[in-house]
Amino acid sequence: MRPLQIDFEDGFSGDTVVIRADGRELWREDDVTTNLAASVATIARLEVPVGTQVEVSVPTRQLTATERVETPYLEVEIAGGKLVLRPSRELPRHL
């Protein structure tokens, strides 16, 4: 198991977000909204198996995306109507 931080960034407005790995729901939060003064909506901190396939879904918009994550951080945003996942080796920064 390794720690994984997932930053939900731009594009969220009153959404529900769900994180699954290996088909199992690991985390869920409702009413997720991007704070435009910092470009971050919420941050999830999980423990996941190494090399696991992580699925992020936004059921309020019928969006889902998956990524095999081998980095400690994952940035998530909704852009152009799509859910975009960006693995990152560096701590995502917001101001």
Partner: protein
């Protein structure tokens, strides 16, 4: 309502005691009435005020310089007239004295990074009180320079319908070591007839002045002070910059003020980190200048760590009530003395204060209300270096000159007051000054969409105003649009120009967050339509006096196209009889407005509204407005109403169908509505069918303006009268 105009008809200006140069007293502005900002969304005021105003045929001697013809945002250098080095610049802030109006004038034609604009804020003086009246800005100035005087002329845009909108500013050229000369601000009508004149004494070379207080958490021993921009490669000249220095370069004087506090970590609560709510509480407690009014004062808190963790370097946390008065930066990640760390501290502190000036991130200008194009490539304090598309952080830092971009500079210096002042507009509202074209007809429209606005020609005074919207495709290849064409979903904006010239954008009382289902407009679905209730919202009543109103609607299409409707004229009739007057009087009250918005309520704090509606029905049963009251109370009687007590107990008032039927008789054809249920089984189909029936029969049954209100609220009515439940 605007029945006085600071641009017209003043007597000879009175001269009072001189202002001290460079010193700016904190102005005490009483809160606006009705709990809502009296200021106007700048985008609306700028463009609707001209777009909706009656057309003016008189020619002007200088010509109306159409902003849309300016290249970009028109940073044009002054003509190269040899200015003797012995004369001082005229750029800066000037202030008039006297009554009934005073003006703070900003001249920006020859200072550092001139934006070639003048702007002004007007204050009305009444006895011992000063109230902000409105703002003006000239986006396209003509400047004439002689050896003795600088003359600046142009057509102003105002937050009200100004009778003498043209301005001429005359400033004597003074020797460099002299005090700045007084500026004469003369207003003229479009025909050139002189209006009001103000003698504005020179106050400061800065265009704005803000009181700046900084406090620190006890675990932050060394808050940021300054950074030498030449320490690492950059895009501008090397100089030592503090936050105050960065803003001085933008034309803003950040005056150190207040009492410096050390904030105890215990104020973070048990977890030792700051939530936004805890930051707000700390601000109220420690910001010695904090007040619940708009004021030019800002708080910067040097803190340790936010709840979101070390990735959050800073945040403008103040997004509650009177917003944008404070920001925080976090030293868990920012602390350090290396050049990189000091550079990041400067960047973060200046960036967060930029949010307090109502600036959005460079790549999110389209999220301003109203929106503008994003500028992700901007070399600006408001970008994220690591998001820079043209090479990332390294490329950004190498090119960044440590300044705001040109459009942000214009906003900071010249936006209408409430779009900038701390505690003014909420964050995002009016945050994008730069393009006044948002409400004017586009030069070219390839959106493939057409938006139409319709309503009955006139409304009874006091009757709820509702308007029809229709969005259709002009390009049958298909255009993607939101399915819900309603202000409360944020998908359409409706600007309203009131008879006295005040311009407002309708703000619904409640914002309905819904999944943005999209629909394709094409041959099969050529259009969508909706009826919107625009009578009462966050600004109170939008149609509170008889007279002629002008409305315009706007949507932002999926591709960013701004689609404007026709300009709709709607007349609110004057009361004819005493009965009309008294009946209308019973319709105006915040409780009544809220009840009309919600289609009724048992809530005890709205009791005064229900009493007024009952009074209306008993005293004036045949008056058209009584039908509105019956509709609102009838729909409420038809619903089950739950009240939650202070002890979280729930009381359920059962529907009262007999009372509902009695009230709604003659207003809604209940029999037809219930027949529409037919053999439908699912709730959604039932309610949709009933809503459609209500809309269709309303036209035949009641007055047109009441029919419009019923159409606007048909879904809410259908939910209650269909008898269908989950």
């Amino acid at each position: 309502m605007v029945d006085i105009d600071p641009t017209t008809g003043l007597a000879e200006p009175e001269l009072h005691a001189e202002h001290e140069e460079g010193g700016v007293a904190l102005e005490v502005m009483p809160p606006h009435e009705n709990g809502a900002s009296a200021a106007v969304d700048e985008e609306t005021a700028v463009a609707i005020a001209s777009a909706l105003a009656p057309t003016i045929d008189e020619p002007t001697e200088t010509g109306d310089i159409d902003v849309s013809t300016l290249s970009g945002l028109g940073i044009h250098p002054l003509p190269k007239i040899p200015l003797p080095l012995v004369k001082r610049r005229v750029a800066g802030r000037y202030r008039s004295a006297g009554a009934p109006f005073q003006v703070e004038l900003r001249v920006d034609v020859d200072g550092p990074r001139p934006t070639m604009r003048v702007s002004a804020d007007y204050y009305s003086i009444s006895g011992g009180t000063i109230n902000y009246f409105g703002s003006m800005r000239v986006d396209a100035v003509s400047v004439a320079v002689s050896p003795t005087v600088v003359t600046i002329t142009g057509l102003g845009v105002y937050t009200w319908s100004a009778g003498a909108p043209r301005v001429k500013v005359t400033i004597p050229r003074m020797p460099i070591f002299s005090r700045g000369g007084a500026a004469t601000l003369q207003h003229l009508t479009l025909a050139g007839t002189p209006g009001a004149t103000y003698i504005c004494k020179f106050v400061s070379p800065f265009l704005r002045s803000v009181l700046f207080e900084q406090d620190r958490q006890d675990t932050v021993p060394a808050p940021f002070v300054s950074y030498n921009t030449g320490s690492l490669p950059s895009g501008g000249p090397a100089r030592t910059l503090s936050v105050a220095g960065a803003y001085a370069e933008a034309g803003v004087e950040m005056q150190t003020a207040g009492v410096t506090d050390v904030v105890n970590t215990t104020e973070t609560g048990a977890n030792g980190t700051w939530s936004d709510a805890e930051l707000h509480a700390a601000m109220v407690r420690h910001f010695s200048l904090w007040r619940d009014i708009p004021q030019w004062a800002v708080w910067l808190f040097h803190a340790q760590l936010h709840d979101l963790g070390p990735g959050l370097y800073g945040i403008m946390f103040d997004q509650v009530g009177r917003q944008r008065q404070g920001a925080a930066v976090f030293y868990q990640s920012l602390a350090g003395t290396t050049a990189d760390q000091q550079r990041l501290q400067l960047y973060t502190t200046t960036h967060e204060i930029g949010h307090c000036f109502n600036l959005l991130h460079s790549w999110q200008k389209s999220l301003a209300i109203p929106p503008l194009p994003d500028r992700p490539n901007a070399l600006s304090w408001m970008n994220y270096p690591w998001r820079y598309p043209l090479g990332g952080a390294g490329a950004f830092w190498n090119a960044f000159p440590f300044q705001f971009d040109d459009q942000e500079l214009i906003h900071i210096r010249h936006a209408f007051r409430d779009a900038v002042i701390m505690g003014g507009n909420p964050f995002r509202v009016g945050s994008a000054l730069e393009d006044p074209e948002g409400w004017r007809d586009p030069i070219e429209d390839n959106s493939g969409l057409k938006l139409e606005l319709r309503a009955p020609r006139s409304f009874t005074f006091g009757s709820p105003v509702s308007v029809d919207l229709e969005l259709s495709a002009t390009d049958m290849r298909g255009r993607r649009v939101p399915q819900r064409l309603r202000p409360r979903n944020g998908n359409v904006e409706i600007a309203i120009r009131q008879p006295a010239g005040r311009v407002l954008v309708y703000k619904p009382l409640l914002h309905q967050c819904a999944v943005d289902d999209m629909v394709i407009l094409d041959v099969d679905t050529p259009g969508i339509s909706e009826t919107a209730f625009v009578h009462y919202g966050q600004d109170g009543f939008y149609f509170e006096t008889p007279g002629l109103y002008r409305l315009r609607a706007r949507i932002i299409a999926a591709d960013g196209s701004i689609v404007l409707s026709n300009i709709l004229e709607v007349r609110v009739q004057s009361p004819v009889t005493r009965e009309d007057d008294e009946a209308a009087d019973l319709m105006f009250g915040d409780e009544q407005g809220t009840l009309m918005y919600l289609m009724g309520s048992d809530f005890d704090q709205l009791q005064a509204g229900n009493e007024a509606f009952s009074d209306l029905q008993s005293r004036f049963p045949a008056h058209p407005l009584a039908a509105v009251a019956r509709l609102v109370q009838g729909v409420n009687a038809a619903r089950e109403f739950k009240q939650v007590g202070a002890d979280n107990s729930v009381t359920v008032r059962q529907p009262k169908p007999e009372e509902a039927d009695k009230l709604l008789k003659g207003v809604v054809d209940l029999a037809a509505a219930r027949r529409a249920v037919g053999k439908k089984k699912d709730l959604e189909s039932i309610r949709k069918a009933v809503a459609t029936e209500i809309r269709d029969t309303a036209r035949a049954k009641v007055d047109p303006d009441l029919a419009a209100y019923i159409k606007a609220r048909r879904r809410e009515i259908a939910v209650e009268v269909s008898g269908a439940t989950e």
